[in-house]
Symmetry: none
Subunit: 151 residues, 2 copies
Protein backbone atom coordinates (compact mmCIF):
# COMPACT_ATOMS: atom_id res chain seq x y z
CA UNK A 1 0.00 0.00 0.00
CA UNK A 2 1.46 3.30 -1.07
CA UNK A 3 0.77 6.28 1.14
CA UNK A 4 1.87 9.83 1.69
CA UNK A 5 2.73 13.15 0.06
CA UNK A 6 6.13 13.74 -1.48
CA UNK A 7 7.50 16.94 -2.92
CA UNK A 8 9.70 16.15 -5.90
CA UNK A 9 11.60 18.21 -8.44
CA UNK A 10 11.97 17.33 -12.09
CA UNK A 11 15.51 17.62 -13.39
CA UNK A 12 16.36 19.49 -16.57
CA UNK A 13 15.62 16.42 -18.70
CA UNK A 14 12.21 15.78 -17.23
CA UNK A 15 13.28 12.94 -14.96
CA UNK A 16 12.00 12.40 -11.46
CA UNK A 17 13.41 10.33 -8.63
CA UNK A 18 11.18 7.90 -6.77
CA UNK A 19 11.46 8.64 -3.03
CA UNK A 20 13.78 6.16 -1.40
CA UNK A 21 11.22 4.85 1.04
CA UNK A 22 9.21 3.26 -1.79
CA UNK A 23 12.11 1.68 -3.66
CA UNK A 24 12.24 -1.65 -1.88
CA UNK A 25 8.55 -2.12 -2.29
CA UNK A 26 8.72 -1.31 -6.01
CA UNK A 27 11.70 -3.57 -6.56
CA UNK A 28 9.82 -6.42 -4.89
CA UNK A 29 6.44 -6.12 -6.49
CA UNK A 30 7.39 -5.35 -10.09
CA UNK A 31 11.17 -5.44 -10.55
CA UNK A 32 11.15 -1.67 -11.15
CA UNK A 33 8.72 -1.99 -14.07
CA UNK A 34 6.17 0.80 -13.93
CA UNK A 35 3.45 2.19 -16.17
CA UNK A 36 2.35 5.80 -16.22
CA UNK A 37 -0.81 7.10 -17.83
CA UNK A 38 -3.19 10.01 -17.51
CA UNK A 39 -6.06 10.48 -15.13
CA UNK A 40 -9.14 11.18 -17.22
CA UNK A 41 -10.91 13.19 -14.55
CA UNK A 42 -8.23 15.59 -13.49
CA UNK A 43 -5.00 16.84 -14.94
CA UNK A 44 -2.70 14.47 -13.15
CA UNK A 45 -0.86 11.25 -13.95
CA UNK A 46 -1.30 7.74 -12.61
CA UNK A 47 1.69 5.55 -11.84
CA UNK A 48 1.21 1.79 -11.51
CA UNK A 49 3.47 -1.15 -10.80
CA UNK A 50 3.37 -3.15 -14.04
CA UNK A 51 1.39 -6.17 -12.75
CA UNK A 52 -1.18 -3.86 -11.23
CA UNK A 53 -1.56 -2.02 -14.49
CA UNK A 54 -1.94 -5.22 -16.47
CA UNK A 55 -4.99 -6.30 -14.54
CA UNK A 56 -6.55 -2.91 -15.12
CA UNK A 57 -5.65 -2.96 -18.77
CA UNK A 58 -7.34 -6.33 -19.21
CA UNK A 59 -10.55 -4.98 -17.77
CA UNK A 60 -10.46 -1.97 -20.05
CA UNK A 61 -9.68 -4.02 -23.12
CA UNK A 62 -12.58 -6.33 -22.52
CA UNK A 63 -15.07 -3.49 -22.61
CA UNK A 64 -17.42 -3.58 -25.62
CA UNK A 65 -15.58 -1.69 -28.32
CA UNK A 66 -18.75 -0.48 -30.02
CA UNK A 67 -19.65 1.46 -26.92
CA UNK A 68 -18.49 5.07 -27.35
CA UNK A 69 -17.79 5.58 -23.67
CA UNK A 70 -15.68 2.44 -23.63
CA UNK A 71 -13.78 3.53 -26.70
CA UNK A 72 -13.13 6.85 -25.04
CA UNK A 73 -11.65 5.20 -21.97
CA UNK A 74 -9.60 2.81 -24.05
CA UNK A 75 -8.12 5.55 -26.15
CA UNK A 76 -7.39 7.83 -23.23
CA UNK A 77 -6.02 5.33 -20.75
CA UNK A 78 -4.34 2.71 -22.88
CA UNK A 79 -3.40 5.30 -25.45
CA UNK A 80 -1.41 7.30 -22.95
CA UNK A 81 0.03 4.42 -20.97
CA UNK A 82 3.80 4.33 -21.12
CA UNK A 83 6.22 1.74 -19.77
CA UNK A 84 8.87 3.05 -17.44
CA UNK A 85 11.90 1.51 -15.85
CA UNK A 86 13.78 2.89 -12.89
CA UNK A 87 17.42 3.59 -13.59
CA UNK A 88 20.24 2.81 -11.18
CA UNK A 89 19.48 5.98 -9.27
CA UNK A 90 15.80 5.22 -8.82
CA UNK A 91 14.80 7.75 -11.47
CA UNK A 92 12.57 7.58 -14.52
CA UNK A 93 11.73 9.85 -17.41
CA UNK A 94 8.24 11.29 -17.62
CA UNK A 95 7.24 11.38 -21.31
CA UNK A 96 6.89 14.91 -22.53
CA UNK A 97 3.27 14.57 -23.77
CA UNK A 98 2.21 13.43 -20.33
CA UNK A 99 4.08 16.25 -18.69
CA UNK A 100 2.22 18.65 -20.93
CA UNK A 101 -1.11 17.05 -20.17
CA UNK A 102 -0.58 17.44 -16.43
CA UNK A 103 0.80 20.95 -16.89
CA UNK A 104 4.02 20.12 -15.12
CA UNK A 105 6.89 22.45 -14.66
CA UNK A 106 9.63 21.77 -12.20
CA UNK A 107 7.83 21.17 -8.94
CA UNK A 108 5.77 18.03 -8.57
CA UNK A 109 3.88 16.19 -5.89
CA UNK A 110 3.77 12.41 -5.70
CA UNK A 111 0.72 11.06 -3.86
CA UNK A 112 0.53 7.53 -2.55
CA UNK A 113 -2.91 6.14 -3.38
CA UNK A 114 -2.98 2.54 -2.26
CA UNK A 115 -2.05 0.35 -5.22
CA UNK A 116 -0.97 3.26 -7.36
CA UNK A 117 0.56 6.71 -7.21
CA UNK A 118 -0.70 10.00 -8.54
CA UNK A 119 1.71 12.60 -9.88
CA UNK A 120 0.62 16.23 -9.85
CA UNK A 121 2.11 19.55 -10.68
CA UNK A 122 2.52 21.11 -7.26
CA UNK A 123 0.36 24.08 -8.19
CA UNK A 124 -2.43 21.88 -9.49
CA UNK A 125 -2.28 19.71 -6.41
CA UNK A 126 -2.45 22.58 -3.95
CA UNK A 127 -5.38 24.07 -5.82
CA UNK A 128 -7.22 20.76 -5.94
CA UNK A 129 -6.49 20.04 -2.30
CA UNK A 130 -7.73 23.41 -1.16
CA UNK A 131 -10.89 22.89 -3.11
CA UNK A 132 -11.41 19.47 -1.58
CA UNK A 133 -10.88 20.92 1.87
CA UNK A 134 -13.39 23.65 1.20
CA UNK A 135 -16.02 20.98 0.58
CA UNK A 136 -17.33 19.51 3.78
CA UNK A 137 -17.58 15.77 4.24
CA UNK A 138 -21.35 16.15 4.32
CA UNK A 139 -21.73 18.20 1.17
CA UNK A 140 -20.05 15.59 -1.00
CA UNK A 141 -22.39 12.66 -1.28
CA UNK A 142 -20.71 9.45 -0.32
CA UNK A 143 -21.65 5.87 -1.01
CA UNK A 144 -23.82 4.48 1.75
CA UNK A 145 -21.21 2.27 3.30
CA UNK A 146 -18.96 5.25 3.77
CA UNK A 147 -21.57 7.34 5.49
CA UNK A 148 -21.03 5.19 8.53
CA UNK A 149 -17.28 5.21 8.28
CA UNK A 150 -15.86 6.24 11.62
CA UNK A 151 -12.43 7.74 11.57
Amino acid sequence: MFRGVNKINLDAKGRMALPARYRDQIADCCENQLVVTIDTETRCLLLYPLPEWETIEKKIESLPSFNPAARRIQRLLIGHATDLELDANGRFLLPQPLREYAQMDKKLVLLGQGRKFEIWSEDQWLAARDQYLAETDESSALPDDLQTLSL
Copy 2:
Protein backbone atom coordinates in the same frame (compact mmCIF):
# COMPACT_ATOMS: atom_id res chain seq x y z
CA MET B 1 -8.20 3.56 24.65
CA PHE B 2 -6.20 6.74 24.54
CA ARG B 3 -7.23 9.62 26.74
CA GLY B 4 -6.02 12.99 27.88
CA VAL B 5 -4.48 16.27 26.81
CA ASN B 6 -0.70 16.56 26.53
CA LYS B 7 1.38 19.63 25.85
CA ILE B 8 4.31 18.68 23.68
CA ASN B 9 7.16 20.60 22.06
CA LEU B 10 8.57 19.92 18.62
CA ASP B 11 12.35 19.80 18.50
CA ALA B 12 14.39 21.67 15.92
CA LYS B 13 13.92 18.91 13.33
CA GLY B 14 10.21 18.64 13.70
CA ARG B 15 10.23 15.58 15.92
CA MET B 16 7.84 15.04 18.78
CA ALA B 17 8.07 12.66 21.72
CA LEU B 18 5.16 10.42 22.57
CA PRO B 19 4.33 10.85 26.28
CA ALA B 20 5.77 8.00 28.26
CA ARG B 21 2.47 6.83 29.65
CA TYR B 22 1.30 5.72 26.19
CA ARG B 23 4.47 3.94 25.19
CA ASP B 24 3.74 0.49 26.58
CA GLN B 25 0.34 0.49 25.00
CA ILE B 26 1.73 1.53 21.63
CA ALA B 27 4.51 -1.02 21.80
CA ASP B 28 1.95 -3.74 22.53
CA CYS B 29 -0.71 -2.94 19.99
CA CYS B 30 1.40 -2.04 16.97
CA GLU B 31 5.11 -2.54 17.67
CA ASN B 32 5.62 1.22 17.50
CA GLN B 33 4.22 1.39 13.97
CA LEU B 34 2.02 4.45 13.57
CA VAL B 35 0.32 6.30 10.75
CA VAL B 36 -0.37 10.02 10.72
CA THR B 37 -2.72 11.79 8.33
CA ILE B 38 -4.76 14.94 8.16
CA ASP B 39 -8.18 15.65 9.57
CA THR B 40 -10.38 16.85 6.72
CA GLU B 41 -12.63 18.99 8.86
CA THR B 42 -10.15 20.95 10.90
CA ARG B 43 -6.49 21.79 10.60
CA CYS B 44 -5.18 19.06 12.83
CA LEU B 45 -3.56 15.66 12.38
CA LEU B 46 -4.78 12.17 13.21
CA LEU B 47 -2.43 9.58 14.65
CA TYR B 48 -3.34 5.89 14.43
CA PRO B 49 -1.72 2.65 15.47
CA LEU B 50 -0.95 0.92 12.18
CA PRO B 51 -3.52 -1.92 12.45
CA GLU B 52 -6.21 0.56 13.32
CA TRP B 53 -5.35 2.65 10.29
CA GLU B 54 -5.27 -0.33 7.99
CA THR B 55 -8.88 -1.23 8.65
CA ILE B 56 -9.88 2.32 7.79
CA GLU B 57 -7.68 2.40 4.73
CA LYS B 58 -9.17 -0.81 3.37
CA LYS B 59 -12.63 0.67 3.46
CA ILE B 60 -11.56 3.87 1.77
CA GLU B 61 -9.40 2.17 -0.81
CA SER B 62 -12.11 -0.15 -2.05
CA LEU B 63 -14.44 2.69 -2.98
CA PRO B 64 -15.28 3.14 -6.67
CA SER B 65 -12.60 5.39 -8.12
CA PHE B 66 -14.94 7.13 -10.53
CA ASN B 67 -17.01 8.52 -7.67
CA PRO B 68 -15.88 12.10 -7.01
CA ALA B 69 -16.66 12.03 -3.31
CA ALA B 70 -14.69 8.83 -2.97
CA ARG B 71 -11.74 10.27 -4.85
CA ARG B 72 -11.83 13.27 -2.60
CA ILE B 73 -11.59 11.15 0.53
CA GLN B 74 -8.93 8.92 -0.97
CA ARG B 75 -6.77 11.82 -1.98
CA LEU B 76 -7.12 13.67 1.27
CA LEU B 77 -6.79 10.79 3.70
CA ILE B 78 -4.64 8.19 1.99
CA GLY B 79 -2.76 10.86 0.11
CA HIS B 80 -1.60 12.46 3.32
CA ALA B 81 -1.15 9.30 5.35
CA THR B 82 2.44 8.72 6.36
CA ASP B 83 4.04 5.77 8.14
CA LEU B 84 5.92 6.58 11.31
CA GLU B 85 8.12 4.59 13.62
CA LEU B 86 9.10 5.53 17.12
CA ASP B 87 12.83 5.82 17.71
CA ALA B 88 14.64 4.55 20.79
CA ASN B 89 13.63 7.68 22.66
CA GLY B 90 9.95 7.35 21.85
CA ARG B 91 10.07 10.14 19.27
CA PHE B 92 8.97 10.39 15.65
CA LEU B 93 9.30 12.92 12.85
CA LEU B 94 6.21 14.76 11.68
CA PRO B 95 6.48 15.15 7.89
CA GLN B 96 6.92 18.73 6.86
CA PRO B 97 3.85 18.93 4.57
CA LEU B 98 1.66 17.77 7.44
CA ARG B 99 3.21 20.25 9.81
CA GLU B 100 2.42 22.96 7.32
CA TYR B 101 -1.13 21.76 6.92
CA ALA B 102 -1.78 21.90 10.64
CA GLN B 103 0.06 25.21 10.97
CA MET B 104 2.42 23.87 13.56
CA ASP B 105 5.22 25.77 15.12
CA LYS B 106 6.91 24.59 18.26
CA LYS B 107 4.08 24.08 20.71
CA LEU B 108 1.66 21.22 20.13
CA VAL B 109 -1.17 19.50 21.91
CA LEU B 110 -1.72 15.76 21.73
CA LEU B 111 -5.29 14.69 22.39
CA GLY B 112 -6.23 11.14 23.27
CA GLN B 113 -9.33 10.22 21.28
CA GLY B 114 -10.09 6.59 21.93
CA ARG B 115 -8.48 4.48 19.24
CA LYS B 116 -6.52 7.38 17.84
CA PHE B 117 -4.82 10.62 18.81
CA GLU B 118 -5.28 14.10 17.47
CA ILE B 119 -2.31 16.44 17.17
CA TRP B 120 -2.95 20.17 17.17
CA SER B 121 -0.92 23.30 17.10
CA GLU B 122 -1.48 24.65 20.59
CA ASP B 123 -2.84 27.93 19.27
CA GLN B 124 -5.30 26.17 17.00
CA TRP B 125 -6.37 23.88 19.78
CA LEU B 126 -7.04 26.65 22.28
CA ALA B 127 -9.01 28.59 19.71
CA ALA B 128 -11.06 25.56 18.70
CA ARG B 129 -11.70 24.61 22.29
CA ASP B 130 -12.85 28.09 23.21
CA GLN B 131 -15.21 28.07 20.30
CA TYR B 132 -16.63 24.70 21.29
CA LEU B 133 -17.17 25.97 24.80
CA ALA B 134 -18.88 29.10 23.54
CA GLU B 135 -21.44 27.02 21.70
CA THR B 136 -24.11 25.84 24.05
CA ASP B 137 -25.27 22.27 23.96
CA GLU B 138 -28.63 23.52 22.75
CA SER B 139 -27.32 25.59 19.88
CA SER B 140 -25.65 22.63 18.24
CA ALA B 141 -28.30 20.11 17.38
CA LEU B 142 -27.52 16.59 18.46
CA PRO B 143 -28.56 13.38 16.75
CA ASP B 144 -31.60 11.84 18.43
CA ASP B 145 -29.79 9.06 20.17
CA LEU B 146 -27.47 11.58 21.71
CA GLN B 147 -30.32 13.52 23.26
CA THR B 148 -30.73 10.72 25.72
CA LEU B 149 -27.06 10.38 26.54
CA SER B 150 -26.55 10.57 30.26
CA LEU B 151 -23.23 11.86 31.44
